[in-house]
Amino acid sequence: MRITVDPVTRIEGHLRIDCEVEDGAVSDAWSSGQMWRGIELILKGRDPRDAWVFAQRICGVCTTVHAIVSVRAIENALDLEVPLNAQYIRNLIIGAHSVHDHIVHFYQLSALDWVDIVSALQADPREAARLAQSLSDWHRNSEHEFAQVQGRLQAFVDSGQLGVFGSGYWGHPAMKLPPEVNLMAVVHYMQALDYQRRANNIVAILGSKTPHIQNLAVGGVANPINPDSQSTLTLERLSRVKATIDELGDFVTKVYLVDVAAIGALYADWTQYGAGVTNYLSVPDMPLDTRGSEFALPGGYITGGDPATLKPITSYHDAYFEDGVKESVKHAWYTGDQGALHPYQGVTNPGYDGFNDDGKYSWVKAPTFYGERAQVGPLANVLAMVAAGHEPTTRYLNQALGIAGQVAGAEIPLAALHSTIGRHAARAVRCAVLYETMSDQWTRLMNNIASGDYTTFNRPMFPRGEIRGVGFHEAPRGVLSHWAVIRNGRLANYQAVVPSTWNAGPRDDNDALGPYEASLVGNPIADPTKPLEVIRTVHSFDPCLACAIHMVDTDQQEIVRVKAL
């Protein structure tokens, strides 16, 4: 039996997933991006200093990350150093953006795959609050708040306005949480709306505006620092940033991390499904020096799911990353099939010829790292950081596994991370690590300013002739890289290899399955007309295809359409 889910994402971009189902489980899968947009073409011939302004429009969800990576690519081509203040300010912006994104992903975009809203109405608020208090000392776990939220939810259901909750698979046999746990999650869902706003406020203060930050420049940032001037980055604004970081830290460590561990433990069977491709690629981020050779957060490549194989990526100039990336179009709707190409040589010539299981079936290219498929995202990053001995990551991971073990009544091994639920756990761990790192970046920025360094910008100079550069960033969905070829001060080629390309890509030159596809094989399917299990696994990657696909959709169905043949 064949099932088609289209679209899968609740956010921008159209992803179609096809699965072959045999004996109640997925036996084969196809991941297809259903849009084409030649965004990169808009950049050709432009001033590289302006590329980020356009690049941040590639995606409505990840504006900030594309802006950052674009300036990094140009700086890399110029071998241009970035002042410390600029690094710290950028680090705080990307940290806040990631925290925002991770919180939104878990609560607003994927929790309802696991949490049954309607069941929460049956919960005893006192029992639910008591349960929450036994897991965490979060100050907003009171019986009063739990009862209040349950009342609001009841009013919503009674008025027929389920709104955001309207499309869930309520009462699905794969929904297994007790009513009290469902209520706890719903209460935190509401609170998350508040905290993700706070995270975005940091981006607004430092980037001067959201959703499109305004403060970047190739060579630094446009935030003048002058403690005495009201119109610049003042101590008052910086104190607000710090207070917000602390509030976020409380929510992430006392609520998000705890919820994921507890809900994960109650769905322990989902640690057996969804591993898929276990080569993991991540990049180091949060540079601590002007050249990008020291980082607060490590990254690298792990093969075969074994953290001991970690080969670190150590600097912005590390050829190990730059040389390893290629993209295959054997199964993607592009012409000029000459084998996988390096992004500097990348070409994007659309050639749509319909959905062919064994031929071309997606607008997404298939990236490889040294010829192998690799999974990217918070799980890849957390495994690399643990393997690199990063203390905060190890600490938060142990905390999460500890809570999960407490709820499950059994020890949860590290290997459980190679799974659908493991991707959620790793994202929460990374979010806690990001909070701590932001706090440290803030201190570094304050100390550097106190030392009298107010520099935020180094002027870029473009040589005659051709130069090339790659910028990378460990974005919320994983490794994001922009590749720029600059000729006589103008962009000659520009390619973005985005996280969802790595994960959502179709089969490659060797017909090897991409991470989404591989992770679906073996998933149980209780009801083919309601393939909640497929959605759980794909959502665990935090899919966002707006930028992964190289036109806007024609007439897509407006709600999730499931076709079971």
Partner: protein
């Protein structure tokens, strides 16, 4: 892809682009993390300016900002194609005017105006090509009791959605009308908005 000539985005994206290697101008004092409490009224342009007419909402609000005296209580914002990022931007406003491309059987350039409850209903039926974010943001605002008291939408049917920074001629011709409609909407809300006096007849450009 169309063979349309390139537009130097700087003209249009003047407020953001860097010029001659200088970092872009620091944000005005008023832009530093100000909250909805400071400016209770929001004019929000939505769309992707890289995809021709898809970005009509953004072009329209920029034209409004350039051609009208905007009171201090009004924030004009380019929302791009953001989703949940807009929650903070929309929460707690008294009045919100959204300008967006909409999908409709009417001919390109047609304008649809909606107010109040009809707006979220429109986004729920997903007529806008990129409401995926907005419908959920509006629903989330309701959940946290932060919905704008007054909400209106000016929707335009696009013609060309190809990868380009330029509007189709038909849509470009509608931009002044859209700016005037934004002003009219605010006036109807009791917020006086008057056009900037012109000298010499040159079209106004966005502040840089």
């Amino acid at each position: 892809m169309t063979g349309r000539g390139r537009n130097d985005g700087r003209n249009r994206r003047g407020a953001e682009a860097t010029a001659a290697g200088r970092p872009s101008k620091p944000a005005a004092e008023d832009d530093w993390g100000r909250s909805s409490a400071d400016r209770p009224v929001l004019v929000l342009g939505v769309g992707n300016i890289l995809l021709a007419d898809e970005g009509i909402g953004v072009h329209a609000v920029e034209a409004f900002q350039a051609e009208y005296h905007v009171p201090d209580t009004v924030e004009v914002l380019d929302g791009g194609t953001a989703g949940m990022d807009l929650l903070d931007v929309l929460a707690g406003r008294s009045h919100v005017v959204i300008v967006d491309a909409i999908r409709s059987d009417r001919p390109p350039g047609s304008i649809v105006r909606l107010r109040g409850e009809a707006v979220p209903a429109l986004f729920r039926t997903r007529i806008s090509p990129h409401q995926l974010g907005l419908s959920e943001v509006l629903a989330a605002l309701r959940l946290i009791d932060s919905e704008p008291a007054h909400l209106s939408l000016i929707g335009i049917v696009p013609e060309d959605l190809s990868t380009s920074l330029e509007l189709s001629p038909r849509l470009a011709a509608v931009v002044p009308t859209l700016a005037a409609l934004v002003a009219e909407e605010l006036n109807a809300f009791g917020i006086p908005v008057v056009p900037v006096a012109r000298s010499g007849g040159a079209p106004a450009s966005p502040p840089g």
